[in-house]
Amino acid sequence: MKKRKAFTILVLSLLLVAALVVAVGIGAVRVAPLSFTRYLLHQLGFRSVALPDQQDITIIVFLRLPRVLAAMLVGASLAVCGVVMQGLFRNPMASPEILGISAGGSLGAVTAITSGFASVSLFGLPLLTVVGALLSSTLVYFLSTSRGTTSLLFIIIAGMAISSLLNGLTSALLLISREYQVSQFLFWTMGGLDGRTWQHIFFAAPVLIPGIIVLGLFSRELNLFTLGEESASSLGMRVERTKRLLLALSAVITGMAISVAGPIGFVGLLVPHFFRFLIGADHRTLIPASALGGALFLTVCDLVGRSIAPPLEVRVGIITAILGSPYLLSLIVRIQRRSVRGIQ
C-alpha cells in the first residue's frame, strides 16, 4: 500500500508535467511541437538551445501557458475542497457544488460584474466571489446545525435549496444586466477557461496554493472526522473549531477558483473518489494525490474541449459534466450494491 501510494504520487507528477507540455503545444494555431520545451530550456539557462520564433513565444507565453496553469490551479483546488467536504461531513457525496458554495461564488461574481464593482477595482470580482461562497456556506451550515450537531441529510437538502435559489438569482441578474451576453451566461453557470490571462493567475495563486497546503496540514483531523464527531472529540480534537476553520477555508479557496474559471462541476466529486478507490482514504496521501489528479484532470478536459473541433471550443464545464454524471451514477450503483450507508 505504501509503495502504491508513493508510486501514484510519482506517476501523477510526471503525467502533470507531460500534460503541461502537451496542452501548451496543442491549440487552434499550430506551433512547432518542441517550441515550448525549447523556450523552457532556454529560460532555465541552457543558452545553447535556440529560442523558437517570436509568434510562437507570444502564443505560448501569453495565451496558452496562463490558461493551462489556470486549469491546473483550479482543478487542484476544486478536487482538494471536495476531499475536505467529504471528510468533514463523513459523506462521499458532499462537494462544493452540493453544499451551495459554488452557487454562492457565482452569484458574488455576477453581482460584481453587474454592479460595476468589478470594473472599479481589479480585486472586486475575486473579492465578491469569495464573499458569496463564504456567505452561502455559512448559511447552509447554520441551517443544518442544531444543538451543536450538524445533520448530513439537512446539509444536503439545505445545500440543494440554497443552490437553486442562488443559481436562480444569478440567472436573473445576468438577464437584466446590460452586459448580458450568452457567453457570460454560460461562463457563470457552467464555467470555462477561455481567455484566462496572467492577471488571473497572479490574483489566485497566492490564495490557492497556500490554501491547499494548509488544508493538507489538516489531513489527520480529516481522518478523525470520518470516525464521527464524538470519537474525533474524544481523541482530543476541537471538533467544532476545526470544522468551521476547514469549512471557511474551503469556501475561500472554492470562491477564488470560481473567480478564475466559473463554477466547474464534478471535479470535487469525481477526483477524490477515484483516488480513494485507488490508494485508500488516508487524507495524508489522498489530498496530495487529489491535488495533482485534479490539476491533471482539468487540464486534460480543457485540452479535449478545445481540440475536439477547432477553432470551436467546448467549455471545460461541459466536458467535466459529460464525464462526471455517468461516473456519479456508477458510484451510486456501487454504493447501493455494497449497501454502504452513504447519505444519512
Partner: protein, 422 residues
Amino acid sequence: MTDALVRTQRLWWKIGGATIVENIDISVSRGELVGVIGPNGAGKTTLLRLLAGLLVPSEGAVFLDGRNLAVMDARSRARKLAFMSQETAQNFPFTVMEILLMGRYPHLGRFERETAEDHEKARRTLSYVGLSGLENRGFGELSGGERQLVLFAKALVQDTETLVLDEPSSNLDIRHQDRIFSMAQELAGEKRAVLTSVHNLGVAAQYCSRLLLLETGRVAADGRPEEVLRSEILDRVYAVHTLVSPSMATGSLTVTVLPSRAGVTGARVHLIGGAGSAVNITRELHRLGYVLSGGIAHEHDSDERLWRNLGIACTRVGAFSRIDNEEVLKAARMVESADITVLCSFPIGPGNQRNLNLAARARRLIVLAPGPGDVPRTFFSDEGRAIFENLCGNSNVMTYEELISELSRMKPAGKESSGPAS
C-alpha cells in the same frame, strides 16, 4: 481520595427542560471496573459522555485525576481518557491499521508522523484483541463485532489511564463479549479505571467490580454487584419481577425476569365467547393478571384455541355441536365462582344459545357492546333474542375500552408495578 481517577461533583445535565442526569456524585478509583447499568433512557450514555468530556455539564463538574475537565484542553484530556463510542459506521475505505493509528492522535504534534514504535504498538494491540492478521483489511469489510473490537483496540492504542466504554459489546457474540470484558478486567488490573455501560445484568455481575445503577438520571444503587443486584431494587427500577440467583457454574449472579403473571391470585373473570370474539380481551386480562376461565366454546374455534394454549380453564363441546343443558350445568361452577362474567359479542343461534342461560347465572355480568371491528351480535332465533334482552336488563353494557379501563383500575393485588397501564 488520591486514588480517584474520575470524580464528579453534583453533576447535572439538562436539555430543553428535561433533566437527563441529576445530581450525581461518584468517584472511581484505579483498579475499578465500573458497570453502569439501568433501563433504557436512564441516562447511562449521557453520564458516560459527561465523564469523557464530550458534553459540558449544566451544573457541577467532572474531575479527571484531580483536574477539572472544564479547564483541561482537549488534547491533554485525550491523553488521560479514552472513549469508545457506540458509533461504528465508516463510509470511507480506511484499513484497520489506519483506524488503530488514529488512536495515537493526541500523542503526536502536527508535523509528526507515527513512529515504527506506534505501528508495533497498534499491531500488538490488534493481536491482543484477537484480530491479528487483519491489519491491512478494510475496516468497512469487517463484521459489526470485529469493528467493535477494532474500536476497542483503538481506545487501547490511545494508552490512557481511564477508559470509558459505551455499550462495548452490543454487537458481539458471547465469545467476543467475554473477550472484551475480560480485557476490561485486565486493564483495571493494571491500575487503570474502566467505566462501561452494560445492558446485560449477568455480564455486569460477572465482570465488573462495582455497579452503578441509574434510574431516571439518578444513582439508584452503587456498590459491589451483590449489593446492587437485588430483586427489591431491580424490580422497582426496571418495573419487572426478577429472580437473582448465583450461577451454578461461576458463582456470579444471574438475573432472571420472571413471567409477569407469576404467583398472582387475583379476581376471577369468566369469558363467554365464540367466533374469536374473546381473543383480545383474553390477552389483555391475562396480562393484567386475572385468573381466567372460558366457555362454553366449540373446539377449534379461535377463542377455544387461545384458551387451551394459555392454559385457561374452559368448558368445550365438539365443533359444530349443539350446547345442551348438561354442558351448561358443568360450566356453571366456573361462572358462579367468577367475580365477573363477560359476555362477548358473537352471533347467537340455536347451537350456542345455551351460553346465554349460562350468563344468567353470573354473580356480576358485563355485556360487551360490539365495537366497529367486532363480530356483530346477530340473532338466528327469537328465543335467543328474548333471553338476551332479559339479560341486558339486569347487567351493565360496556364497550371494550370501558371494560378494560375498569378492570385495569381494579387490578388484582401484587401487580402495581407491571404492565403498560402503570
